[in-house]
């Protein structure tokens, strides 16, 4: 019996849940866990932070008990309907979180009933002219921009003929946090007149109808707020918002739509090709211009037709979702997906209604079947969006092939994106621009890739990660004042569009602007999109917002790294007909050029010298095009934070360093007379992998600023002069050939290496006339103004250091710090992603600016930055340093460091199995691993670069700082009218420290690297780069008094306090007492460092830190460097 059950289960491979048993099993598990772990790990548990995933231990009985039928069913379902068990659980949790609870539904239903009762009690009004609105009380304003004001027609109020709930509430697909219930009020036929489809008459009646209702409802105590807004930000369609009173205010918003009596409008009058807004009326000319054909007004027509189909569309959706719970879940998930991408709100959005319609379309096409789960519905819809271009080939939900209905081609002529509703009349995506749809498609494609990638947590990336414009796009620019678009409309002769859109110049100009930019940027951008204009809500007593109140408009560009920075735009050959058009498009920027292949072409050349300027070429283009478009001066550029370098952002400096280094390595390879040959030369300095914040610059020392050491050709700093500029030695590892002659003893290897250093120095100066200075551990080479520090390495040396012989004579390898070769991998990354260097450097600058220079290793920051490029999902790899930096901050802040390893797949060496292996090992050994765990292909288990630092406290502080910086930066970037001081997040807060040690700027060699360029600078004993001197004396290398000082401080007082400093020219050292250091401790001979005796009571003697003396020590140790020690005793007492 049991045996057969086992055989049955064997058919299913992947695992699934049995929800009903979930709660009980958890409880059971905890009970079993406690007695076992309670005693043995009691202490560890208490100290370990809560909320850490621990490896699961199930008893044998639990693991091997025969499965039940339910379990089997569950198994089958997960196998068929979901991707993995975790995903299924996650989706279920998410749905629980966003869907409406039954209890709340009852409250909402009660509220709706009350509204219904009130609506039928709204009093009638006598008939008046449409333009005569004196009957409306003063405390309510018509929610409509009545331009031009005068219009024919009569209006009177009658209570609605029908009140129906429509939309997502009935379908059960509405999701938190904004629960909206849509209620359609059918205006009685008596209100409407024959020609109401003309000249916004219907729209104005709608508005008056709602205004009257609003005025009456606002007197009721039932409502917490009564406000207006525009439906989908379309200003022709105001709607009334009602919220309940009291604590339920946020629970629900009831939205009242007014719609015409069914069958009132004749559909044939409202086809996309028909005109319903007369030019003469719109321009307020007295008599209609004779002869001129009136232009079609498809958007206007569509806005009327929309209202006629509310109920039938609901029935259509209800039909599709009947008996199909997966559809409800799927639509809810899709709405979350859209919301995270900011696609579901504003004019031309893809809102929940359109999303439901798309799902219904797929159901009708049998692409979705009723047995599917919510996840599968989401997947199908994403697949559909990714592969279907509605802007080229629209779809229609209409089934009857009535030849009198407009065809899809008619729709395409009138609209950019086409999705026709079941009646065959309404385009549901009328306001959407093609570029917005392209964005939807792009997002869907990316999302499908994420879902198919089994190494990432698709759920987290697709449904839980918000993608704000600022963090998604490489370049973002804002139109500060949309009112300038009015001018553009005039210049581009968009009168017909303006009429069609009822005077909304933003909507009219937007498709034009995007197509202009798309053409101009061409292959430089992967994707160009814009933010959706959002209409605010306003109280009923206020005037409706104007078009210019839509705030600023933002555009996002995703760049293609290969083309984005090219300075040349090559056009057609001069004698071709396209050339004229090209010239017209680019204006005077276009010029004739002769190319190397002999062709003479029209071309546009953008002026940019450095990498920094080249990065801004797209900006130049946009500015130029928009200026041509007739709206100059409203470009607001994204601030570029430079590291603060004197010229450019240092890419060129690093290129010249690498060139010099390449030359040096070639010389090393070809050196004659070495006892062993050089097998490899490896640069390990960050500048050599393009990630040094301030790459070294060529230096020529000024002799008069230094003393010369007797007999040695080296300079020494003078104590009374300012400290010489810092010259960083760049470490270059020089691997020597293996040979039997290498000794097997540690000490002897050191001597041999020293001998090699001497030898290299001598040969380099003999054969290449380079100035060299050997030492026991390295040899410095002065070349092209740079200092390279050569270090000889012997490939077996790390092995010999690790070797220990066990008592049995077995040779074992002790684990010492692995010397991983991050450099070469990162170098490759830089070749693929030009923005990597900038991102990593900004990140480093930020970390150091927060005075955490020594709390995070450089390699760690490099790896974090690398992960942004290697695992960008749900974004694309950053193509500009700014967006990379924003994502760096977000990664720091949002990553779950406690429970997950950050896996950086350098070189794509890790396979799927490796990922699982890393994760399992991580969970098993979590308490013993560093707080920040970064795994790479060469280092799967130990996370070498974060082993020592950061500590848990520092990481915590780092996260807080990242959160604050990100918030400040994003606010700043998203608001073009605010201040644009990007450096703000690079200024550290100092109120956190107990003691501040102020330094003497004269002795800070890197003072110029400070975030804010110092007002006063010192001459640092260096000649200008073009000075004609051949240096024969070695400059001062690697001498930074502040670092010496910090080292001494940490050695002497590391037990008592923490020291924080910005290694790029910081003028202050922050000191923080360790909380434990002030605890009086009993006397211990080994622990009397800087302490003194104190009596706690009469008898008892304890030790406390000798604070006064220590504070004086701070000054003594840093004599000449320290300006003052500021003890903030208000934060602590002695």
């Amino acid at each position: 019996m049991i045996g057969s059950a086992w055989l049955l289960i064997g058919l299913f491979i992947s695992w699934q849940a049995f929800d009903n048993a979930e709660g009980d099993m958890e409880a059971e598990e905890e009970n079993q866990d406690l007695p076992k772990k309670g005693k043995a790990q009691g202490r560890k548990r208490a100290s370990a932070p809560d909320g850490v995933v621990k490896p699961v231990k199930l008893s044998r009985a639990d693991l091997y008990k025969p499965p039940t039928n339910e379990e089997l069913n569950q198994l089958k379902e997960t196998e068929n309907l979901f991707h993995s068990s975790l995903l299924r659980l996650q989706i279920e949790e998410l749905l629980k979180e966003v869907t409406l609870k039954e209890k709340k539904k009852q409250k909402i239903d009660a509220f709706l009933h009350e509204i219904n009762a009130l609506l039928s009690a709204v009093p009638e009004t006598p008939e008046t002219d449409l333009a005569d609105q004196s009957w409306l009380p003063k405390d309510v304003k018509v929610p409509f921009l009545q331009v031009p004001f005068s219009v024919k027609g009569k209006f009177r109020f009658l209570p609605p003929a029908a009140v129906t709930v429509v939309g997502s509430y009935l379908l059960g697909t509405c999701i938190k946090p904004e629960i909206n219930v849509d209620v359609a009020l059918t205006m009685p036929r008596a209100i409407l007149q024959d020609k109401d489809n003309l000249n916004q008459r219907y729209h104005r009646k709608r508005a008056l109808y709602l205004a009257h209702i609003a005025q009456h409802l606002s007197k009721e105590k039932l409502f917490g707020s009564v406000r207006f807004t525009y439906m989908n930000s379309n200003h022709l369609k105001p709607i009334l918002l009602l919220q309940p009173q009291g604590k339920d205010e946020k629970l629900v918003t009831v939205r009242l739509y007014a719609c015409p009596a069914p069958g009132f409008f004749k559909p044939s009058r409202l086809y996309p090709s028909k005109n319903n807004v007369r030019t003469a009326w719109f321009l307020e000319q007295g008599s209609p211009g004779e002869g001129a054909a009136e232009p079609p007004t498809p958007h206007y027509n569509n806005s009327i037709l929309c209202d006629t189909g509310l109920e039938s569309n609901l029935l259509f959706l209800a039909g599709a979702s009947a008996g199909f719970p997966g559809m409800r879940d799927g639509v809810a998930l899709l709405k979350v997906w859209l919301h995270q991408r900011e696609l579901d709100k504003g004019l031309g959005c893809l809102n929940g209604f359109v999303a439901s319609m798309l799902v219904a379309y797929l159901v009708a096409k049998h692409k979705i079947s009723q047995g599917m789960s919510g996840y599968q519905v989401l997947r199908s819809i994403l697949q559909f969006l990714a592969t279907t271009d509605l802007s080229a080939a629209g779809i229609s939900l209409s089934k009857d092939a009535d030849s009198s209905l407009p065809t899809l081609a008619d729709f395409h002529q009138a609209f950019e994106v086409v999705l026709v509703d079941p009646s065959g009349l309404v385009n549901l995506c009328a306001d959407m621009t093609a570029s917005k749809y392209k964005q939807v498609q792009f997002e869907a494609k990316r999302s499908m890739e994420v879902l198919d990638d089994s190494t990432v947590d698709g759920f987290q990336l697709l449904l839980m990660t918000p993608k704000p414009l600022i963090r998604t796009f490489d370049h973002v620019f804002h139109l500060k004042h949309v009112s300038k678009l009015q001018g553009a409309c005039k210049k581009m002769q968009l009168l017909n569009e303006l009429m069609d859109r009822g005077g909304n110049y933003v909507a009219a100009a937007l498709p034009f602007v995007t197509s202009l930019l798309a053409r101009g940027l061409a292959e430089r951008v992967l994707l160009l999109t814009h933010s959706l204009p959002q209409a605010p809500q306003w109280p009923i007593s206020a005037e409706p917002p104007k078009h210019k109140d839509a705030g600023h408009l933002s555009f996002g560009l995703l760049l293609t790294p290969a083309f984005a920075a090219s300075i040349l735009e090559r056009g057609p050959e001069a004698d071709r007909p396209e050339a004229a058009e090209f010239r017209k498009f680019w204006g005077e920027k276009s010029e004739l050029r002769r190319f190397q292949d002999g062709a003479i072409c029209e071309a546009v050349v953008w002026g940019a010298e450095t990498m920094c300027q080249k990065r801004l070429i797209p900006e130049q283009i946009v500015q130029h095009l928009l200026w041509l478009g007739g709206v100059p001066g409203w470009f607001n550029r994204i601030c570029t934070y430079k590291g603060g370098g004197p010229a450019g952002t240092g890419e060129e400096a690093m290129v010249s360093i690498v060139r010099s280094y390449d030359d040096l390595s070639r010389k090393l390879w070809n050196l004659e007379g070495l006892p062993l040959t050089v097998t490899a030369v490896q640069g390990t300095h960050p500048a050599l992998r393009y990630t040094d914040v301030f790459p070294p610059t060529p230096m020529k020392p000024d002799y008069s600023y230094h003393v010369r050491i007797k007999d040695k050709e080296s300079l020494l700093p003078l104590p009374e002069k300012p400290c010489p500029a810092y010259i960083a030695p760049m470490k270059v590892v020089c691997h020597m050939e293996g040979s039997g002659q290498w000794p097997q003893d540690k000490e002897a290897i050191k001597r041999v290496k020293a001998a090699f250093h001497l030898c290299l120095a001598e040969l380099l100066s003999q054969q290449h006339q380079l100035l060299c200075r050997p030492a026991a551990t390295h040899a410095d080479v002065y070349k092209d103004g740079y200092i390279f520090r050569l270090q000889v390495a012997y490939h077996r040396e790390p092995h010999i250091l690790k070797e220990v012989v066990t008592p049995e004579g077995m040779l074992k390898y002790r684990d010492t710090e692995e010397v991983t070769q991050v450099t070469s991998c990162i170098h490759q990354l830089q070749q693929q992603h030009p923005a990597f260097s900038g991102t990593s450097r900004l990140a480093k600058r930020w970390v150091r600016a927060q005075l955490l220079s020594d709390s995070l290793s450089d390699e760690c920051v490099d790896l974090l930055a690398a992960s942004l490029f290697l695992h960008p999902a749900p974004f694309t790899p950053p193509s500009s340093p700014q967006v990379g930096f924003l994502r760096f901050l977000h990664l720091l802040m949002a990553f779950d460091w406690k429970n997950s390893p950050l896996i950086v797949n350098l070189n794509a060496d890790l396979k799927v199995a490796d990922y699982t292996e890393i994760r399992n090992a991580f969970v098993a050994a979590r308490p013993h691993l560093p707080v920040m765990f970064i795994a790479t292909p060469r280092d799967k288990r130990s996370s070498v670069w974060t082993k020592e630092r950061p500590s848990a406290q520092i990481l915590q502080r780092l996260l807080v700082l990242a959160l604050e910086s990100l918030r400040a930066l994003e606010e700043q970037l998203a608001d073009p009218l605010g201040s644009q001081d990007g450096k703000m997040v690079f200024r550290p807060p100092l109120d956190f420290y107990d003691i501040l040690i102020h330094l003497n700027a004269k002795q800070i060699p890197r003072h110029l690297e400070g975030v804010d360029r110092p007002a006063k600078s010192f001459s640092r004993g260096m000649l200008k780069s073009d000075a004609l001197v051949t240096t024969l004396i070695f400059p001062v290398v690697g001498y930074d008094p502040v670092q010496c000082y910090l080292q001494e401080l940490r050695e002497a007082f590391g037990d008592l306090a923490l020291f924080f400093y910005d290694s790029h020219g910081g003028e202050v050292i922050g000191v923080l007492w360790k909380p434990s250091s002030f605890e009086p401790q009993p006397f211990k001979a080994s622990n009397m460092k800087g302490r003194m005796m104190a009596s706690l009571s009469r008898e008892e003697l304890v030790t406390v830190p000798n604070v006064e003396a220590i504070l004086e020590d701070f000054e003594i140790l840093g004599e000449g460097l320290v300006r003052s020690v500021e003890a903030r005793t208000e934060k602590w007492t002695i």
Binding site: L716, L758, A775, P1041, A1052, M1092, L1101, A1109, E1112
Partner: protein, 279 residues
């Protein structure tokens, strides 16, 4: 921060733990508050510590970072003439005498606050040193022999780091010469022993011989084990018997169950952290 928790303590000026005497010490007259050296007679069993003879050695605790060996020697020379000063990081028996000191290699300085053993020529020095506590604070840096700190010190140490190549070369050469000799001797000895059985008849196999055996390393032995395992696995028949078949399936289900439990735990945790609020 620390302030709240602190109980009220009064610093005891000359307070010292049992057996110790507190000696105040300053860098210069300008310094207002002194550090306290805690000194006592070094006591160990006779004969165990030859470098620090018990009756003449003073044990000093809490020496500030700027006080060098020479300074200490000078400070205590007022008591009695000092024979040797030995500074280390922690109190305790001295580590093994290191290899002959080198000017260029293994430079190790003891940083921060240290302890020291001061050996006097004459036992009377100890009593005299203990009485120092009654006088005013000792001054480390004097007019005649100033102690360098800060910028001056760092410049000096930078200057010291610039080495003379010739000197370095000479030292390396002598070291390698003795090393080569040592190695040559060892090899000669090993060659002599090669192939010669010891008193029990065992012959030592080395990597130099005609048939070198397996190297005795961890990696090699792991490799052997691995190979054995693979050989065994190849021979074994899987899913041959019905019970084997059942076992595999049972095992499979068990794995899935375990995975599921882990997933559930993860979800519970995320739920607790409100990780399912999408916005």
């Amino acid at each position: 921060m620390a302030a709240g928790k602190r109980k009220h303590v009064t610093p005891a000026e000359a307070g010292a733990p049992a057996g110790y005497t507190a000696v105040p010490v300053k860098l210069s007259e300008k310094q207002l508050s002194p550090h306290y050296l805690y000194v006592k007679e070094h006591k160990v069993r006779e004969g165990t510590d030859t470098t620090h003879p018990p009756n003449r050695t003073l044990f000093v605790l809490n020496i500030p970072p700027y006080c060098t060996k020479a300074c200490l020697s000078r400070l205590f020379s007022c008591c009695s003439s000092v024979q040797a000063v030995n500074m280390c990081e922690k109190p305790g028996p001295r580590e093994k005498p290191e290899a002959p000191k080198s000017k260029f290699f293994n430079l190790k300085t003891v940083p921060g606050f240290r302890v020291a053993y001061v050996v006097f020529k004459n036992p009377a020095g100890i009593q005299a040193a203990k009485s120092l506590s009654l006088q005013g604070p000792l001054v480390i840096s004097s007019e005649s022999r100033p102690v360098k700190t800060g910028i001056r010190k760092w410049i000096a140490s930078y200057a010291a780091s610039v080495v003379d190549p010739a000197e370095l070369k000479a030292e390396v050469d002598t070291f390698m010469h003795t090393y080569d000799q040592k190695i040559a001797e060892e090899e000669a000895k090993a060659e002599e022993e090669a192939g010669v059985p010891d008193e029990e008849g065992w012959v030592k196999v080395t990597r130099k011989g005609r048939r070198p055996g397996l190297p005795r390393t961890e990696a090699a032995s792991l490799r052997v084990l691995e190979r054995e395992k693979r050989k065994r696995a190849r021979k074994e028949l899987l899913n041959f018997y019905a019970w084997q078949h059942r076992e595999t399936k049972r095992e499979n289900i068990a794995q899935l169950r375990k995975k599921f439990e882990e997933d559930k735990q993860r979800i519970a945790l995320m739920r607790a952290q409100r990780k399912f609020r999408p916005y």
